[in-house]
Amino acid sequence: MSGNSWGRVGQLGYLAYCSAVFLFLTAPILVIVPLSFNVEPYFTFTEGMLSLDPQAYSLRWYRTVAEDPQWLRALANSLVIGFAATALATALGTLAALGLSNPAMPGRSLAMGLLISPMVTPVIISAAGMFFFYSDLGLAQTYPGLILAHTALGTPFVVITVTATLSGFDPNLTRAAASLGAGPVRTFRRIQLPLIAPGVISGALFAFATSFDEVVTVLFIGGLDQRTIPRQMWAGIREQISPAILAVATLLIAFAMLLMVVVEWLRRRGSAKPA
């Protein structure tokens, strides 16, 4: 009997512990959301906010951001660099994943190791190296320089997601297409691409999120003209911390949740198919 009650206590304790960990994971992010509507320039809950007084809430920080040319410029830069890097990374990464999906490819594991390395290399080292190399090439403080850097950092995500999708792909399908007279390009477009599309789109979203959140290479090889949203937030946190940052953060959280839900939906769609 006592063993059983011990079990109950242990069970409850375990669930309480897990709840605390989930709280640790999510609460810090959610706490920013209400604070971004603070009418006062404070980073903490005012009495008015706690008593749910509507007067204590306002959209003033959102207005500040929307009217600030620096933030708008940063948004435009983030989008330009993000889209360009994503397009490049997705094209190169998908091609490479198609090659890597062939287990007989010579030097496969070496190639995989090389292609994944930008993801595990400390970004400060990549950025320092890029600073030296891109300066020599005249690419420092230019959009192409940042796009190349972000492409390099984003490709591992595309390679990983597309390779994962391809691992459930039946190679007989391409053989069947070939036997029916389709060339390799047509086979890819009509047979492989539709089936691996969820993986490709997930990879693209990962690559975009990587670029959209990247600050270290922007710090090292970006100039004043290439300030992105994370770079602007970095400056905001380091120099003049203003509640406008909380408004931007809330918008970024909403954007991240959207990306996450789309990727999860794609992943389930992909894995729901018969492997």
Binding site: C18, V21, F22, F24, L25, T26, P28, I29, V31, L35, F43, T44, F45, G93, L95, A96, L98, G99, L100, M105, G107, R108, S109, G113, L115, S117, P118, V120, T121, P122, V123, I124, A128, G129, F132, F133, Y134, D136, L148, A149, A152, T155, I160, A164, S202, F206, D213, V215, P230, M233, W234, I237, L246, A249, L252, I253, A256, M260, V263, E264
Partner: protein
């Protein structure tokens, strides 16, 4: 053949945009031609110097001539800085000597004139320092990065304890990373188990909770921790409001090591949970029931049956978290204050503030070497091709 052709474009792209920069950086860590290019005659003459007495007049004459020329070419400041990094104090000696020699008429003896301006010219260690700063290919940045120094005789000695900066920082980085890895395991293992054994719908929901921080911008998460932990922040307000601490006893939890550890654990926890979860999902719950039905207590069953099967996930998650932790830069830079800085922050400092790029490159080389070894271990144990996201 066709598959290799498909991989080639990306491999070439990564080689040019990513590997080449790393090679250039490693090159900078051992190749430093600035002083060698500026003082060729002096360094040539010093090659036949015995190293024990003050060098002959010809060396002084060559040195004065080349320094005056460097001043005209506006490279004197950079040369003086390089020499000063080998031996502190020489920057001012060089600059002052050139300033005085420039106005004065040609002296009878350059040697006496220069020693009169600054007695450092009469010390052999000054000339040893110039000779070392003039090494075109050099390991001095690596020695510096490992708190070592080259003795005038040629042997390698450790820096005096009060000048050792980088090894303590390196061991702090390793220690903190290890601590964060253990913390992530401690926090992540139970929830991975919970998710892996929950009914599918609830498991999906809980998994989303883990993925929320994974997708949220790093800068947003860092901002959150500042808002929560600062002395006028939410947690301190809460503690003061319920009376646990007085208003003057607010705890400093940020801009120090605590801030670094808390924020980094938060950032890296998903990288622990996801590999654990994907391994635990494949372990049938029947194994634990079978052990229990054979009379094992929960702890026994866990230790003997469940834990060993999760080891691949534990290894994958721990290695990944550790690799990411030792190279972490953004979080410590923003919330670490003085005491919470890690080795990456020192690389950034030498890149951006002290402009000692050779040393930055050498520190980067040391870090890169460490990460590379861990990456090889990771590849051996887990396999990069089995890495999954989400």
């Amino acid at each position: 053949m066709r598959s290799a052709a498909l991989v080639l474009p990306l491999a070439a792209f990564i080689a040019v945009t990513f590997v080449a920069p790393l090679v250039v950086m490693l090159g900078r860590s051992v190749h430093d031609p600035l002083v060698a290019d500026a003082l060729p005659e002096t360094l040539g003459l010093l090659r036949s110097w015995d190293g024990e007495r003050i060098p002959p007049e010809s060396v002084f004459e060559a040195m004065a001539g080349e320094l005056l020329k460097a001043r005209q070419e506006k490279s004197l400041g950079r040369i003086a800085t390089r020499v000063n990094r080998v031996q502190a104090g020489l920057r001012s000696a060089l600059l002052r000597s050139v300033r005085k020699l420039r106005g004065a008429p040609r002296p009878d003896s350059w040697r006496e004139a220069m020693i009169a301006i600054d007695p450092k010219w009469g010390q052999t260690r000054t000339w040893h320092a110039i000779r070392r700063a003039g090494e075109r290919f050099t390991l001095r940045h690596y020695l510096h990065a490992l708190d070592l120094d080259q003795a005038p005789g040629g042997g390698i000695v450790r820096q005096p304890p009060d000048l050792r900066i980088y090894l303590p920082l390196l061991s702090r980085t390793l220690g903190v990373s290890l601590g964060i890895t253990l913390l992530c395991l401690l926090l992540g293992y139970p929830i991975a188990y919970l998710i892996a054994n929950a009914p599918p719908n609830r498991a999906n929901l809980l998994l989303l909770l883990v993925l929320v921080p994974f997708w949220t911008s790093l800068l947003v998460r860092t901002t959150s921790w500042i808002v929560l932990l600062q002395t006028q922040g939410v947690i301190n307000d809460l503690l003061a409001a319920v009376g646990l601490i007085g208003d003057d006893q607010r705890i400093s939890m940020i801009y120090n090591m605590t801030g670094t550890v808390v924020a980094m654990t938060h950032v890296l926890l998903p990288f622990m949970v996801l590999p654990l979860y994907s391994v635990m999902r494949t372990i049938p719950p029947l194994y634990m029931s079978a052990a229990a039905s054979l009379g094992a207590s929960f702890l026994q069953a866990f230790r003997r049956v469940y834990w060993p099967q999760t080891l691949p996930g534990v290894a994958a998650g721990s290695l990944l978290v550790f690799i990411l932790a030792i190279g972490y830069y953004i979080t410590p830079a923003l919330v670490g204050g003085q005491s919470g800085q890690l080795i990456s922050n020192m690389v950034a400092y030498h890149m951006q503030q002290s402009l000692n790029w050779g040393l930055a490159a050498a520190l980067g080389g040391v870090l890169l070497g460490g990460v590379f070894c861990l990456y090889l271990v990771f590849n051996r144990l887990v396999g990069v091709d089995r890495m999954r996201l989400g």
